[in-house]
C-alpha cells in the first residue's frame, strides 16, 4: 500500500512538469514580444527593456525555464503586472472564501445527493424515484446565477434571514462566517447534487441486480443493511469518480458564485487577471488548478484501492 502511494505520487511529478512547461511556454510562445505583451500598447522602450531584464528574457530559453522553475519551487510566482503585488500574496489573501465554498459545497452535496440516489434506486419506478430525478433535471438545467439570485431574493431580501452578500473570515468568528457561506453554498450545490444523485442512482441500480445483494437478502438482513453494507459499498467507485471529476464543474461554478455573492475569492481573481492579461497571475492560477486536479485524481485512485480489494496496488 505504501509502495503504491509512493509510486502514484512520483507518477504525478512528470504530469506537473508538463503543466509547468506549458505554462512557461504560454507566455514565451504567444506571438510577438512577451515584454510588449506584458507592458501593454503604450509602453516606453525603457519600460520594455526593464521588463525584459526582470524576466530574464535576454537569456536562452532553457535557462529562463530553469530559473523560472527554481523560483517556482521557492514559492516565488512572480509579481502582478497590474498591482505590483507578489502573486503568492494575492492568492493567499483570496483563497479562503474559495476553499470554504468549495469544501462546504462538496460536503453538503454528498450529504444530500447520496441518500437521494440510494432511495431513488431502492424505490425505482415509484413517485419518489421520479421526484428525485425531476429534481436533478432542474439542478442541471437552471444556471448557478439564477439560483443564486433567487436565493438572495427569498432568503436575504424578503425574509431577512441571511446577509445578501460578502464574506467574513473564519478567524472573525464562526457565526458570521457560516451566515455568509450558506447561500453561495446552496446555489453552487444544486448542480452538484443533481450530478451525484443521478450517478448514485445509476450505480445502485446496477448493484441491486447483483447476485450478492440477493445473497444478502437470503441471509435475512434488513433492507437498510442490504442497501448500506452491501449495495452502497459496491456502488461507491463510480460515485467517487463522479464526485472527483465534478470538481471541474465546481471550479467554473465558483467563479460565477463569487460574482453573484460578491465574494473576494480566487475565481474572481482569475477572471480579473484574464481580462487584464496579468500573465503572472494567470500562470499561477493554471498551475494551482492543475495541481488541484492532479491531487484529486490521486485521492480518487487511493479511494478505489481502499473501497475495492480487487484493485491491486
Amino acid at each position: 500500500m505504501f509502495g503504491y502511494l509512493v509510486r502514484r505520487v512520483l507518477a504525478a511529478v512528470p504530469v506537473m512538469g508538463v503543466v509547468a512547461l506549458f505554462v512557461f511556454l504560454l507566455l514565451r510562445l504567444t506571438p510577438g514580444d512577451p515584454a510588449a505583451i506584458l507592458a501593454g500598447d503604450n509602453a516606453t522602450p525603457e519600460r520594455l527593456e526593464r521588463i525584459r531584464t526582470s524576466l530574464g528574457l535576454n537569456e536562452p530559453l532553457y535557462v529562463q525555464f530553469f530559473t523560472w522553475i527554481d523560483r517556482l519551487l521557492h514559492g516565488d510566482l512572480g509579481v502582478s503586472l497590474i498591482s505590483n503585488v507578489p502573486v503568492m500574496k494575492m492568492i493567499s489573501s483570496r483563497i479562503e472564501p474559495t476553499i470554504s465554498i468549495a469544501l462546504s459545497t462538496i460536503v453538503l452535496s454528498i450529504l444530500i445527493a447520496v441518500p437521494l440516489g440510494v432511495i431513488a434506486a431502492w424505490k425505482r419506478g415509484t413517485w419518489i424515484d421520479r421526484f428525485v430525478m425531476g429534481l436533478s433535471v432542474i439542478g442541471f438545467s437552471v444556471p448557478v446565477f439564477v439560483i443564486g439570485y433567487v436565493l438572495i431574493q427569498v432568503f436575504a431580501i424578503d425574509l431577512h434571514w441571511l446577509p445578501v452578500q460578502g464574506f467574513r473570515s473564519l478567524s472573525k468568528g464562526f457565526g458570521p462566517f457560516l451566515e455568509r457561506l450558506v447561500l453561495p453554498t446552496l446555489a453552487l450545490s444544486f448542480i452538484y447534487v443533481a450530478l451525484i444523485a443521478r450517478m448514485t442512482r445509476a450505480a445502485m441500480l446496477d448493484v441491486l441486480d447483483e447476485d450478492y445483494v440477493r445473497t444478502a437478502r437470503a441471509k435475512g438482513i434488513t433492507e437498510s443493511g442490504v442497501l448500506l453494507r452491501h449495495a452502497l459499498r459496491n456502488a461507491a467507485v463510480p460515485v467517487i469518480t463522479v464526485i472527483g471529476t465534478g470538481f471541474a464543474l465546481l471550479i467554473s461554478g465558483v467563479v460565477v458564485t463569487e460574482s453573484v455573492f460578491n465574494l473576494p475569492g480566487i475565481g474572481r481573481l482569475t477572471v480579473d487577471a484574464v481580462l487584464a492579461r496579468d500573465y503572472p497571475v494567470i500562470q499561477a492560477m493554471i498551475l494551482l488548478t492543475s495541481g488541484i486536479y492532479v491531487a484529486i485524481n490521486l485521492l480518487i485512485d487511493l479511494a478505489y484501492t481502499l473501497l475495492d480489494p480487487r484493485i491491486r496496488y
Binding site: 447483483e210 445473497t215 441471509k219 438482513i221 459499498r233 459496491n234 475495492d308 480489494p309
Partner: protein, 560 residues
C-alpha cells in the same frame, strides 16, 4: 440411494402454487399449480430446462421474488408447518438463514466482492444470534472446517476473488448451513464449477445433509447431477409439474413423453461407434503451439503465465477433433491461437498446408475465410442491432461477393441450419438460444471454411436443444466435408461427436488419441479423474438403464 422413510417430518410443503407475472387475475402464470414436499434428510431434485419455473419456485419459498414483478397469487407454501405466503417481511427475514437457506449458481457473483468472506458469514450470526464476537468467530471457523476449507484462519480474512470457485462455493455452503436450517435450497450450485470440483461439492452437500438432517431442494438442469444426488425427482416444464417420482423410477421408467425425451437427449459417456480411419488430406495442423502471457510490472520482475504449451495436433478433412479440459486448461487459448484471434508466442499453425501463425494481418486475410469459429454464448456473440441476414452476409461481402448474391446465399444457409427463410430480415433477440446458435453456425459457414472451430458452442444450451445442434453439426459435416475442431468441457458431448480427443490440463496436452480409446481406456491419471468425476457416469440415460460395466471407462489398466 435410499429413499427417506415417510415417517420423517415434512420440512417444506408447497401446494397448488401459482405465481403470476404481475398483479391482476389475468396476468400470465409463470408457475401453474406446483405442489411438492421435501422431508427432513431428503433431497428432492427439481429438473427442467430454462424457463421451466424451477428457480422461480425456489425464490418464492425464500420470499425473494422481485416485488411487484412476480406475484404468488394462489396456493400455499409451508415451512415446518408455517405458512410463508402470508408471512410479514420481518418474519421472512427471521426465517431466512435460521430455518431456510439458499445457495446459488455462481459463487463468484453471489459473494460480496468487497467484504472478506469471514465477515460475510459473521453477518448471519450477528443478525440472527446474540453471540459475542469471539463465540461467533469460533463457530464460523468450525463451520469452515466442516465444509473442508483448508487454512481456515487465512481464508476467514480473504476476499472472494482470492479464492477458487470451489472454495467460494464452500463459503456459500458454510454461510447457508451455519445456523443449521431445516431446509436448504440449492439452485444449480455446481453448474459453474469444473467436474472434479462439482463432484467434491456434491458429496459435501450429501455429507452435511446426513449430519444435520437437512431437507434439500436441489435445482438443476443436469441429469448427471440428478443421478448423483437425488432421492426423489420432480420434472418441470413451463411452470407445471411433468412428473414426480423416486430417482430410480424416473431414470428407469419415466411415464411422461417429455421426461423420456429429456433423458434421451443426454449424451452418453460411452463413445459412439468409431468411424473408419480417414485418409483424407490434413487441413489443420499445429506443432509445438504455445501462448505465454507476460505481465509487466512497474518495478519488480515480470510474471509469465503459460496459457498453452507445446500443443501438437492434426485434423483431417471431414473429421472432428475434440479438445477437452477444465477451466484454465488452455483449451480456448489453443482455439483462439489457431483462428489467430490471439497471436501464439511459439510453434506453428498450418492451415491447408500454409503456415499462418506469424502472418501479418494483411497476409492472413486470404486464409481467414478457410477457418471460422462459433462461440459459446449466442446471446452475446451476435450483434443485436444487425439483422440476421446482414450478419451472415457480412463475411462474404468483405471478401468481394456482391451484396445481393451474399444475401441470397445467407437465405440458403438459414435453410441449411433449419431456420425459416424469413429469419433473414429479423434481429437476434427474436430467436431462442438454440436458434441463435444455428444463426452463428450459418454465419461461420457463409465463407465456406475448411475448418469450423466450435468453442463450447453447445454449453450454454438446454440438453434437448444441445442434442439438436450437435445433430446439425454432424449433418453439416457429412454434407460439406468440413473439419470440426470442437472445444468442450463436457466429456459426454465429446464422446458423441469427436473422432479424436486431446485432453488438456494446465496448458499442456495430457493425452491424445481416438475418442473411443481415450474415453474408455484412459492411460493418464488426470483423464481417469475427469471421467470418474463426470456426474451420472453410471447411467445410460438415453436407454433408461445403468451403463453396462464392460463399457464403463476402466479405472484400472494404467500406462505401462
Amino acid at each position: 440411494m435410499s429413499t427417506v422413510p415417510s415417517s420423517r417430518p415434512v420440512a417444506l410443503d408447497i401446494r397448488d402454487l401459482v405465481v403470476r407475472l404481475g398483479k391482476g387475475p389475468t396476468a400470465d402464470k409463470i408457475i401453474d399449480g406446483v405442489s411438492l414436499q421435501v422431508r427432513e434428510g431428503e433431497t428432492l431434485c427439481v429438473v427442467g430446462e430454462s424457463g421451466s419455473g424451477k428457480s422461480v419456485t425456489s425464490l418464492t419459498v425464500m420470499g425473494l421474488l422481485q416485488k411487484g414483478a412476480l406475484v404468488p397469487s394462489a396456493g400455499s407454501v409451508r415451512l415446518v408447518g408455517e405458512e410463508l405466503l402470508i408471512a410479514s417481511d420481518k418474519r421472512l427475514r427471521q426465517l431466512r438463514a435460521t430455518t431456510m437457506a439458499m445457495i446459488f449458481q455462481e459463487p463468484m457473483t453471489a459473494l460480496n466482492p468487497v467484504v472478506p468472506v469471514g465477515r460475510q458469514i459473521d453477518e448471519v450470526l450477528r443478525v440472527h444470534t446474540g453471540l459475542d464476537a469471539k463465540a461467533r468467530q469460533q463457530r464460523i471457523l468450525a463451520m469452515m472446517e466442516q465444509v473442508r476449507l483448508p487454512d481456515v484462519k487465512r481464508i476467514f480474512k480473504s476476499y472472494p476473488h482470492q479464492l477458487s470457485g470451489g472454495q467460494r462455493q464452500r463459503i456459500m455452503i458454510a454461510m447457508a448451513l451455519v445456523l443449521e436450517p431445516k431446509l436448504l435450497i440449492a439452485d444449480e450450485p455446481t453448474t459453474a464449477l469444473d467436474v472434479t470440483t462439482q463432484k467434491q461439492i456434491l458429496s459435501l452437500i450429501r455429507e452435511l445433509q446426513k449430519d444435520h438432517g437437512t431437507a434439500v431442494l436441489f435445482i438443476t438442469h443436469d441429469m448427471g447431477v440428478v443421478a448423483e444426488i437425488a432421492d426423489r425427482v420432480m420434472v418441470m416444464r413451463q411452470g407445471r409439474i411433468v412428473e414426480t417420482g423416486a430417482l430410480d423410477d424416473i431414470l428407469r421408467a419415466p411415464k411422461m413423453e417429455y421426461t423420456r425425451n429429456l433423458l434421451a437427449s443426454v449424451p452418453s459417456l460411452v463413445p459412439r461407434t468409431p468411424r473408419p480411419a480417414s485418409s483424407e488430406p490434413v487441413v489443420l495442423e499445429t506443432s509445438g503451439l504455445g501462448k505465454i502471457y507476460r505481465e509487466r510490472s512497474f518495478f519488480g520482475t515480470a510474471r509469465e503465465v503459460a496459457a498453452a504449451q507445446d500443443v501438437t495436433l492434426t485434423l483431417r478433412k471431414g473429421r472432428t477433433l475434440g479438445i477437452v479440459g477444465e477451466s484454465g486448461s488452455g483449451k480456448s487459448t489453443v482455439a483462439r491461437c489457431i483462428v489467430r484471434l490471439i497471436d501464439p508466442t511459439s510453434g506453428e499453425v498450418r492451415l491447408r498446408g500454409s503456415e499462418i501463425s506469424t502472418l501479418s494481418r494483411q497476409l492472413l486475410r486470404p486464409h481467414r475465410k478457410h477457418i471460422q469459429i462459433v462461440f459459446q454464448d449466442p446471446y452475446r456473440s451476435l450483434n443485436p442491432r444487425v439483422t440476421v441476414g446482414e450478419t451472415i452476409a457480412e463475411g462474404p461481402i468483405n471478401y468481394g461477393v456482391p451484396r445481393a448474391e451474399a444475401l441470397k446465399r445467407a437465405g440458403e444457409l438459414l435453410e441449411l441450419v433449419d431456420l425459416p427463410a424469413d429469419a433473414i430480415s429479423r434481429y437476434p433477440h427474436q430467436f431462442s438460444g438454440g436458434q441463435r446458435q444455428r444463426i452463428a453456425i450459418a454465419r461461420a459457414l457463409a465463407l465456406d471454411p475448411d475448418v469450423l472451430v466450435a468453442d463450447e458452442a453447445v454449453s450454454a444450451l438446454d440438453v434437448s436443444v444441445q442434442a439438436q445442434v450437435l445433430e446439425l453439426l454432424d449433418e453439416i459435416q457429412t454434407r460439406l466435408g468440413i473439419a470440426l475442431l470442437f472445444i468442450t468441457h463436457d466429456l459426454r458431448v465429446a464422446a458423441q461427436i469427436c473422432d479424436e480427443v486431446v485432453v488438456m490440463q494446465h496448458g499442456r496436452v495430457v493425452e491424445q488419441g481416438p475418442a473411443g480409446e481415450i474415453l474408455t481406456h484412459p492411460q493418464q491419471a488426470y483423464t481417469r479423474q475427469l471421467l470418474e468425476a463426470a456426474p451420472g457416469r453410471g447411467w445410460d440415460f438415453a436407454n433408461f438403464q445403468p451403463v453396462a460395466p464392460e463399457l464403463q471407462a476402466s479405472a484400472a489398466s494404467p500406462a505401462e
